[in-house]
């Protein structure tokens, strides 16, 4: 028992970052009569990593979409604290502002890298797009930043002009991460970021993510069905079943001393290798 290196929080209080970044209150989403997720509330602070775990169909992706403005919740509120300290309800903001937020202060890492990358433009342009979107107009600087980020995600700098089509699954996923982090977002959503990768590639990916999250002090909401991923990356966990939150708590406490029957079942289902 020990919490993972590098993730012992990011000095939330120390840097005066003691106010919630994202507040979710009473969020529900219904697909007709069917429940996507029901009455979910939680607060996320700067630098915190929250794992939402559960089996497929438990509503975790619906919840992720509801809080990342990709899908409007049927009821409930999501508020976000901007860099200037103002707090806004995401669903009362204009679309322009919401989309701007998504490509500057936020990131979204998809399970399938093809959903988050432009497959027909070079790796450099994939990383540089967000910079150009916020007005960077110096080719040399864009390229320098892109090279820097490729190195950070362990992609050789000489692959900068190759298209992601020529990359392996693991490289594509690392590229997607670089593309998201280049604008130094404060909050990154991840949907099964290691889902389609084989085990050794997954380990490298997790290690890379762990390092980046700690170095950059990112707040992360990560959806995963893999409890090992949750243990390695997250501070806190939220267990979902049938659209509802079953249990929340400190990651290591929840895994080592699960309280709810369902969490115990989930934890006992981890394969011991």
């Amino acid at each position: 028992m020990q919490i993972p290196n590098g993730l012992d929080g990011q000095g939330a209080e120390r840097h005066g970052r003691d106010k919630p970044l994202l507040s979710v209150s009473g969020v529900s989403h219904y697909y007709g009569d069917r429940i996507g997720c029901r009455n979910v509330s939680f607060t996320l602070y700067p630098g915190e990593v929250l794992a939402i775990v559960g089996e497929s169909g438990s509503g975790k992706t619906t919840l992720l979409n509801c809080i990342s403005t990709r899908m409007e919740p049927t009821t409930g509120e999501v508020t976000y604290r901007f860099r200037d300290g103002s707090v806004k309800n995401l669903y009362r903001m204009g679309e322009a502002e919401r989309r701007f937020l998504m490509r500057t202060d936020w990131g979204f890492v998809h399970q399938n890298p093809a959903d988050g990358l432009r497959m027909t433009v070079s790796a450099g342009a994939n990383v540089g797009e967000r910079l150009m979107a916020v007005g960077e107009r110096h080719y040399g600087r864009i390229r320098e930043t892109a090279t820097d980020w490729l190195t950070k995600v362990e992609i050789a700098a000489d692959r900068i002009d190759d298209q992601p089509r020529a990359f392996s699954g693991g490289m594509r996923q690392r590229l997607q991460i670089a593309r998201n982090l280049v604008t130094h977002p404060r909050l990154v959503f991840m949907d099964e970021p290691t889902g389609g990768l084989d085990v050794s590639v997954q380990a490298r990916m997790l290690d890379l993510l762990r390092g980046l999250v700690a170095d950059l002090g990112l707040a992360v909401i990560i959806v995963t069905h893999d409890l090992a991923v949750a243990r390695l990356l997250s501070h806190r966990m939220m267990v979902m079943k049938d659209g509802e939150v079953i249990e929340t708590g400190l990651t290591d406490q929840l895994l080592d001393d699960p309280q709810a029957a369902y969490t115990q079942l989930l934890v006992s289902s981890i394969l011991q290798v």
Partner: protein, 233 residues
């Protein structure tokens, strides 16, 4: 202020997968650990000593009672604290040395040891400096420092773990058999480290099965069998 007070803390496990079977562990645990003191949890194995440490660290959730920790002049009850608060307390106020190192791929031994310092804002260079001093005292060959501990022997991993636990200046330090797989020379180093911690005013609470180590560091022994619950038959 007393750095650590445990009052009427009770812990049991409910095994939902076995029809909700209740397994009591400890009940009404009460003790305190003062500044500059090393208290040792005593009693036969299986009596709940590790569980008490884990409750204090927030790894196990106590059913009832209070676990009061001094955190930057504020008294926090671990039993009811928010996860976020517990993470902060672990970073700054309660250290923990477990029996086993949770190894991560690709992170060097030196980084493993220095990390608790860098995560609370210490300069990288200074963190490495302090980490190096400890690894050297614990006789970990310098050629290993830059390697990930995954391939180390049990004793080497344990020393990395001890260095990681001792590198910070947490006012409360929990030790779960830190000397279990060490040779006599390194056990001596750990005894010295514990005594130095005590001298700085830290409150230490440990489990030591090794008689020699226990006698060398313990100011008093807390007999855990007092809190043991009649196990379900």
């Amino acid at each position: 202020m007393v750095p650590l007070i445990v009052s009427e803390a009770t812990k049991s496990f409910t095994m939902h997968m076995r029809g909700g079977m209740e397994i009591p562990v400890v009940a009404k645990v009460g003790f305190h650990v003062g500044k500059g003191e090393c208290a040792v949890l005593g009693g036969p194995s299986g009596i709940g000593k590790s569980s008490i440490l884990k409750m204090i660290y927030g790894n196990y959730l106590a059913d009832s009672g209070q676990i009061l920790v001094q955190h930057h002049g504020e008294t926090v009850d671990i039993v009811t604290a928010e996860p976020r608060k517990i993470i902060e307390i672990r970073r700054e106020s309660i250290g923990y040395v477990s029996q086993f190192l949770r190894v991560l791929p690709r992170v060097s031994a030196l980084d493993v040891v220095a990390e608790p310092l860098t995560s609370n804002g210490t300069e990288q260079a200074q963190a490495y400096e302090r980490a190096s001093v400890l690894l050297e005292r614990l006789n970990l060959p310098e050629r290993l420092w830059s390697l990930p501990p995954a391939t180390f022997s049990g004793g080497e991993q344990q020393r990395v773990n001890i260095a990681r636990g001792f590198v910070t200046d947490h006012p409360v330090l929990l030790l779960d058999e830190p000397t279990a797989s060490l040779d006599a020379a390194n056990r001596k180093v750990v005894i010295d480290l514990i005594n130095e911690k005590k001298a700085t005013g830290a409150a230490l609470l440990g489990i030591f099965h090794d008689q020699d180590v226990r006698e060398a560091v313990a100011d008093r022994v807390i007999d855990v069998s007092r809190f043991a619950v009649q196990k379900a038959a």
